[in-house]
């Protein structure tokens, strides 16, 4: 009998659902072993049919999200937090640092395109006070972060869940699949802002550009550095950052850049703190970061 898969889309961009479609011809293989009984981007199923595997995209932002998630949890046997929003809160996790009122005020009353507008009326779904990852609301059985998760890992993860010859997903960082070579370049200056690096085969850190590859879990197969863009950390922190209280994105990157280029660690850390909303964008709302003694997101970014 085919396994039944049900998916749900909370506060997210639908990119994770589109990533499922990116399985391409593997969808045919998947269809031999499973059927989708609920799939919001493709089919109009408003109920929550019983299913073996539940896949949830997006964070919990509103009362509506919470209700949908609870019904999803009740209707499925195994629940997967799918994509960085579901696992860590994702970019919308920034709302976690601010109260609901501050967010509404900024978006609907102070925003340049609708300043002075009436704002949403009472019929709109109420926002919750903050944004949280889904495991703050219900127990989660598996986590597949990524923005969106790469189809390779979706296939591997679903394969394992469907009882095929699934292999455990890699524990390594993005650097492990990066084709650039990390070199010592004493004297290189720290290059700030949205910049790339001249040498296409040499690591960004060696060239003074901050890249999060070494502190990010590989759920992407490193396409960004191959295309000339430093890693933005979209799949969330690497396992050492998650499990070790003293390790953090900024101190690990600062130490590595210091050893490669001689850059002062304090300068790199200061740059991280000034731009914390960017560097910590994908996992702001997760306790794995905000509970760390060295991470002071609220002091760096602001908020309430």
């Amino acid at each position: 009998m085919k396994a039944r898969i049900s998916t749900e889309w909370l506060s997210g961009c639908s990119g994770c659902h589109v990533a499922v479609v990116d399985l391409h011809e593997k969808l045919v293989n998947l269809a031999e072993h499973a059927q989708f009984v609920r799939l919001p981007v493709l089919a109009d199923e408003k109920g929550y049919p019983e299913a073996d595997i539940g896949i949830v995209e997006g964070a919990v932002r509103s009362d509506h999200d919470r209700e949908c998630l609870l019904r999803m949890r009740e209707s499925v046997k195994t629940l997967v937090a799918f994509g960085s929003c579901a696992v860590y809160g994702g970019p919308s996790g920034l709302g976690w640092l601010y109260g609901k009122d501050a967010v509404m005020e900024t978006v609907y009353r102070e925003g340049p395109t609708n300043a002075g507008g009436p704002g949403p009326d009472a019929a709109a779904v109420p926002l919750e006070e903050s944004v949280v990852p889904i495991d703050e609301v219900v127990p989660v059985d598996f986590y597949l972060p990524g923005c969106a998760p790469h189809p390779y890992f979706i296939a591997a993860g679903l394969g394992a869940l469907l009882g095929g010859k699934g292999t455990p997903l890699t524990e390594k960082t993005v650097c492990s699949e990066c084709t650039r070579k990390m070199r010592k370049r004493p004297g290189v200056a720290l290059r700030k802002g949205a910049v790339t690096a001249e040498e296409p085969d040499v690591c960004f850190l060696s060239q003074g550009v901050v890249c999060l590859g070494s502190v990010t879990l590989n759920r992407c197969k490193a396409p960004c550095p191959a295309a000339g863009t430093a890693c933005a950390g979209c799949a969330g922190p690497s396992l050492d950052v998650i499990t070790e209280p003293h390790l953090d994105l900024r101190n690990l990157v600062a130490t590595r850049m210091h050893k490669l280029t001689g850059l002062e660690p304090s300068a790199v850390k200061a740059y991280f703190e000034e731009n914390a909303a960017t560097f910590y964008a994908y996992a702001l709302a997760s306790p794995v970061l905000y509970k760390k003694p060295t991470v002071e997101l609220r002091e760096w970014i602001g908020g309430r």
Binding site: P168, S214, L239, V288
Partner: protein, 236 residues
């Protein structure tokens, strides 16, 4: 003997492992652009190389795992479920009873000494300790009122204490089911209602007052072998 292996496909050739190793386990083979494990017997498992490696390319076998008392259970579970089998390379002891018993005896001694020094001032020590805790946690989503503070306390004190609260008008009652201190007192044959109970009652009161942005005046406590109940009155 500890074994060290390098995933050559993952390695990015930075040579930071060779720099970091305090005992010279690695030499860097510039021609192959790879580190080699040339002195494996020198490894004593400090994991400096693993920590600096950007590509998570170094792994160790036969490591004597140290018992972990400080790792966050949430983080360990998340790390395990992110990979399906991997996650933390730490050993979390299943049975912490030995350590807890030892800690418990010391805690009782500290409470006796405090009572000896402070006399009638003992409750204040508890209140200040509770307020101090409230000041430290949580820094990001502090509760806005007493019900939120009670809910947070229920989560944060679990599983060492099982708290359930009932508020009516200006009176607050907190029932305590499971309690590590009660277990400790039973084990060490210490009567209920002693120094530790006084300290904890006021500790909880100090914590809840500060977190719940209210003033709680202790009214009374009933204690039993299975459950205890603490009462406060709101005076603001």
């Amino acid at each position: 003997m500890i074994t060290v292996s390098i995933d050559e496909k993952a390695c990015v050739g930075c040579s930071l492992c060779a720099d970091a190793c305090p005992t010279g386990v690695f030499t860097f083979d510039a021609a192959a652009d790879l580190p080699r494990v040339s002195e494996p017997r020198e490894c004593f498992g400090c994991l400096s190389c693993s920590e600096i490696c950007p590509a998570t390319a170094i792994s160790h076998g036969e490591l004597p795992l140290s018992e972990s008392f400080y790792h966050d259970p949430y983080a360990l579970r998340l790390a395990g479920l992110l990979t399906g089998n991997g996650g933390p390379r730490v050993h979390v002891p299943e049975d912490r009873a030995g350590g807890l018993a030892d800690l418990g005896v010391r805690l009782l001694s500290v409470a006796w000494v405090l009572k000896d020094i402070m006399g009638n001032g003992l409750p204040v020590v508890g209140t200040i300790a509770g307020r101090t805790l409230a000041n430290q946690l949580p820094r990001y989503q502090p509760p806005r009122n007493l019900p939120e503070a009670l809910e947070l306390a229920r989560r944060e004190f679990h599983p060492a204490w099982e708290l359930s609260a009932r508020a009516e008008g200006d009176s607050l009652s907190v029932e305590i089911g499971g309690c590590v201190l009660r277990d400790l007192c039973a084990r060490e044959k210490v009567e209920l209602g002693g120094e530790l109970c006084v300290l904890f009652f006021n500790y909880l009161g100090g914590y809840l007052s500060h977190m719940g942005k209210t003033r709680l005046k202790p009214v009374g406590a009933t204690r039993g072998a299975e459950r205890c109940a603490y009462q406060w009155k709101r005076v603001d």
